[in-house]
C-alpha cells in the first residue's frame, strides 16, 4: 500500500478557482476552461488506472458480498460477520494494527526528533537513516517473515546460539503468537513513521523555542504548549496511516502462521482457498468489504483530524 500525501503546510497548495475572477472577461474564462480541460486530459490515465485496479475490484467485492453461491441476492454472508469467530478476528486484527501503529508512531517519532537535533540536515548519518528507512518501510511480506524465522524461528541462528551458549530455549511458537506478530510488524512500521514524520519535525523552527524562552517559558511549557500541538495533527494522521498499513498486511502474517485465521486477511485466505466447503466465496467478499469499511473510517478520521488542526498550520 502506498502512502498518499496529506495536504499539509509543507506541500504547495493547489491553485483554486477564485470565487471572483479578477477580470471578468472572455479571454480569462476561455483560458481557464482550456487549462481545466488540459488538466482533466492529463489526469485521465490516472483515473482510468484507478478505475480498473481499485474501483472495479471493490465493486466486485461489494456485489459478491451480497450474493449466494448460486448467484441470488442474500444477506446470509453478512450474518456470518456477526459470528463470534469473525468478530474476534476483527478485534484481534484491529488490536494488532493499533498496537504496532502505536509502537511504530512513538519509536518513529522519537527517532525522527533525534535525527533532527542530532545530525546535520544534509549530513551522512541522516541520509543513511532516511535511505535505510525507505527500504525497510517496504520490507514486508515473505522476506521479512523469513528473516525472522531464520533468526529466532525453531532452527534460527539466534535460537541455536542461545541454546548452545546459554542453554536458553526460545519458544518455537513465539513468532506465531500475538506479541511475535506485533514485533515483526513494528519492523516495517517504525521506518514508515520516520519517513512520514521527519518532514513535520523538520518544520519546527528554532525561533519558536527562542520566542518561548524570551517570554519566560520553560522546556516543559515549550513542548506542551507549542511544539506538541503543532506536531499533533501530523502525528495522528501518520498513526492512522500506520494503522491501515498493518491492518491490510497479509503476506507477512501468512508466512508466519498460514493455518491460523485470527487476523482478517488470513480469514479471507482461508475462505478463498477452502476445498472442503466450496461455498465460502461470499464470506471472503464480505470480509474484504468490512475491511474496506474499517479503513475508510480510519481515513475519514484522518481527514477530520487534519481539518480540525488546519487552523493552527
Amino acid at each position: 500500500m502506498s502512502g498518499f500525501s496529506s495536504t499539509s503546510s509543507t506541500s504547495p497548495a493547489r491553485p483554486r478557482r477564485q470565487d471572483k475572477p479578477a477580470r471578468s472577461g472572455g479571454i480569462g474564462t476561455s483560458l481557464l476552461h482550456r487549462s481545466n480541460a488540459r488538466t482533466a486530459a492529463v489526469t485521465l490515465p490516472f483515473f482510468a488506472y484507478v478505475a480498473v485496479f481499485l474501483l472495479l475490484p471493490t465493486v466486485i467485492v461489494i456485489v459478491g458480498a451480497f450474493r449466494s453461491p448460486t448467484g441470488a441476492f442474500t444477506v446470509n454472508n453478512l450474518r456470518k460477520l456477526a459470528e463470534a469467530n469473525t468478530m474476534q478476528a476483527f478485534g484481534i486484527s484491529i488490536a494488532v494494527s493499533v498496537t504496532s501503529a502505536i509502537v511504530g508512531a512513538v519509536v518513529g517519532a522519537l527517532a525522527s526528533y533525534a535525527l533532527v537535533i542530532g545530525s546535520r540536515p544534509n549530513g551522512a548519518l541522516r541520509r543513511i537513516i532516511v535511505a535505510t528507512s525507505s527500504v525497510l518501510a517496504q520490507f514486508g511480506g515473505v522476506m521479512l517473515a523469513f528473516a525472522f524465522i531464520a533468526t529466532i524461528g525453531i532452527n534460527g541462528i539466534v535460537t541455536i546460539m542461545l541454546h548452545q551458549f546459554f542453554h536458553v530455549t526460545v519458544n518455537p511458537n513465539w513468532l506465531s503468537s500475538l506479541p511475535g506478530v506485533i514485533t515483526v510488524y513494528s519492523y516495517f512500521q517504525i521506518p514508515l513513521m520516520i519517513i512520514t514524520f521527519l518532514p513535520a519535525v523538520d518544520s519546527i523552527k528554532p525561533q519558536w523555542r527562542e520566542a518561548t524562552e524570551s517570554l519566560g517559558g520553560n522546556t516543559w511549557q515549550y513542548w506542551t504548549k507549542v511544539a506538541f500541538p503543532i506536531l499533533l495533527p501530523r502525528l495522528l494522521s501518520s498513526f492512522l496511516l500506520l494503522f491501515a498499513n498493518a491492518f491490510s498486511a497479509y503476506a507477512t502474517a501468512a508466512a508466519l502462521f498460514s493455518q491460523r485465521s485470527f487476523l482478517v486477511p488470513l480469514m479471507i485466505q482461508g475462505a478463498i482457498r477452502n476445498e472442503m466447503d466450496p461455498n465460502q466465496q461470499g464470506f471472503a467478499q464480505v470480509l474484504a468489504f468490512a475491511m474496506v469499511v474499517v479503513v475508510a473510517l480510519a481515513m475519514v478520521a484522518s481527514r477530520l483530524v487534519e481539518k480540525r488542526f488546519a487552523r493552527w498550520q
Binding site: 498518499f4 485496479f53 532452527n155 482461508g270 472442503m276 466447503d277
Partner: protein, 384 residues
C-alpha cells in the same frame, strides 16, 4: 468540487489498502494462442475415444491444438513432475502450460471461472471429492478407455469426474533428529515442541481434513464420532507441539515442520529430497486408520484445447502414467486391474506402502457433515 475530491481521496485511500487482497485472483497461465479449428467443436463434445474414431485421430487433433493448460500440479505431488515429463516426451508437439502449482482444488475451479473463454483457462483439473461433486456444471463428461476397469463408487456415472489416485494418510517425521515414533501418543512428548503439523486447516484443506480423520480413528473415534480426534489435537496444542505453519518443501527442509500428517505420496517426496541432505525422513501408515480419499480428474467444459484435454486424460489412465503415480507413493485407481493384466511395474510396487486392512473412506455427504462440524468446533477448541 472540493468535497467531491475529498470523497475521492478517502475512497481511493480506503481501496488502496484492500485492493491488494481483492485483486488477488487466481494466477493464470501465460496466454497462448491456439488455433481454433472446426475440429475444436467436435472435440469439445466428445465423450469417449470412439467419438474421435481412434487414438491416433485424437492425438492428431490434440497436436493440431498444440497446447495443454494444466493447473495445481506440484512436481513433487504424487510424482506429477515425471508424469508431465513423460507426456511431453510422448507428445513433443504439445506445449504444456503449468499454472499455479500450489493452488487448492477450490482455486482450480476459480481459475476455470475467471479465465472462462480465454486461452489461459485450465483444460483439465485435479480436484478433491468435495470440490468435484459440487462443481460438475464446469465439467465435460468424458469416459477414458480404461473406464470399465474403474470401480463404480469411484467415478461419476456420466464421466464428469473420475478418481485418479489416492494416498494413504500417514505420519512422517525426521528420524535423524527425533528417533522413532510407534504410536500417535508419542507426538505429545516434549521433544516435538512446536514442530507437529497438519497440512492446512482440517475444515479447509483436504490433506489436513484426512489427517484429522486418521488421528480421530487412532484415538478411538469414527466417522460419526469426531470428539476423540479433536481431544487429541487439543492435547497436542496444550503441549505446545502443534505448529500453525503450512507444510511446504521449505518448512520440511528448514525443520520448521519436523512431524507431518500427510499423504503417502507427499511423504515419499519429502523423503527423497531430504535423503540428499543426509536426513532420514520416515513415514508410517497405521493399520487401524487407513484413511483414503481419491483425487479426481475432470475436463473443463470450456477447455481452450478440448482434444489435448482428452488426450491428457487418456494418458493419465494409461499404464505408463499410473505406474508413475505409483512410484510417487500413491495408489492409482487402476492398480487392481493392472495387477491382473501384469502391466504394473513390479519393482516400483514392491517399494510402496500397501493398503492393509480395511480402508476408511467416506462419501461426499460425510465430508460435508464433518466439515461443518469442524467449522463449528475446531477454531473454538484449538483457537483460530
Amino acid at each position: 468540487m472540493s468535497s467531491l475530491r475529498k470523497i475521492m481521496t478517502v475512497s481511493i485511500a480506503a481501496l488502496l489498502s484492500v485492493s491488494s487482497l481483492a485483486a488477488c485472483g487466481t494466477a493464470s497461465a501465460s496466454g497462448t494462442t491456439s488455433s481454433s479449428t472446426s475440429s475444436n467443436a467436435e472435440a469439445s463434445t466428445a465423450t469417449s475415444l470412439s467419438d474421435f474414431g481412434s487414438m491416433s485421430a485424437l492425438e492428431k487433433a490434440a497436436e493440431a491444438e498444440g497446447s495443454l493448460n494444466v493447473i495445481a500440479l506440484p512436481h513433487d505431488w504424487s510424482n506429477y513432475g515425471e508424469v508431465i515429463a513423460a507426456f511431453k516426451k510422448k507428445y513433443p508437439k504439445i506445449k504444456v502450460n503449468e499454472a499455479n502449482p500450489n493452488a487448492s482444488s477450490k482455486e482450480e475451479i476459480d481459475a476455470i471461472k475467471t479465465n472462462a473463454g480465454t486461452d489461459a483457462a485450465p483444460d483439465t483439473v485435479d480436484v478433491g471429492l468435495a470440490v468435484a461433486a459440487t462443481s460438475t456444471k464446469y465439467f465435460a463428461p468424458y469416459k477414458v478407455k480404461a473406464w470399465s476397469s474403474i470401480d463404480s463408487s469411484l467415478k461419476e456415472k456420466s464421466g464428469l469426474y473420475t478418481a485418479g489416485y489416492t494416498g494413504i494418510m500417514s505420519v512422517g517425521w525426521n528420524k535423524t533428529k527425533y528417533g522413532s515414533i510407534t504410536k500417535l501418543s508419542d507426538l505429545l512428548k516434549s521433544k516435538f515442541a512446536g514442530t507437529v503439523a497438519l497440512n492446512g486447516k482440517p475444515a479447509e484443506a483436504g490433506a489436513a481434513f484426512n489427517g484429522f480423520l486418521m488421528a480421530n480413528a487412532l484415538s478411538g473415534g469414527t466417522l460419526t464420532n469426531l470428539k476423540p480426534g479433536l481431544a487429541f489435537f487439543k492435547k497436542l496444542e496444550t503441549a505446545g507441539n502443534l505448529t500453525q505453519v503450512d507444510v511446504t518443501d521449505a518448512t520440511i527442509d528448514s525443520g520448521q515442520t519436523g512431524v507431518v500428517f500427510d499423504w503417502t505420496y507427499n511423504q515419499e517426496s519429502y523423503q527423497k529430497s531430504l535423503k540428499a541432505k543426509g536426513i532420514d525422513w520416515e513415514y508410517k501408515t497405521f493399520p487401524k486408520a487407513q484413511v483414503v480419499s481419491y483425487y479426481n480428474q475432470a475436463i473443463n467444459k470450456q477447455a481452450p484445447h478440448p482434444a489435448a484435454a482428452r488426450l491428457w486424460e487418456e494418458f493419465l489412465y494409461s499404464a505408463q502414467a499410473q505406474n508413475l503415480w505409483l512410484k510417487g507413493g500413491s495408489t492409482p485407481v487402476l492398480l487392481t486391474q493392472m495387477k491382473k493384466d501384469g502391466t504394473v511395474n513390479k519393482t516400483i510396487l514392491a517399494d510402496q506402502p500397501q493398503l492393509t486392512g480395511k480402508a476408511i473412506s467416506y462419501t461426499n455427504d460425510d465430508s460435508t457433515r464433518i466439515t461443518t462440524w469442524l467449522q463449528n468446533n475446531w477454531d473454538k477448541t484449538i483457537g483460530n
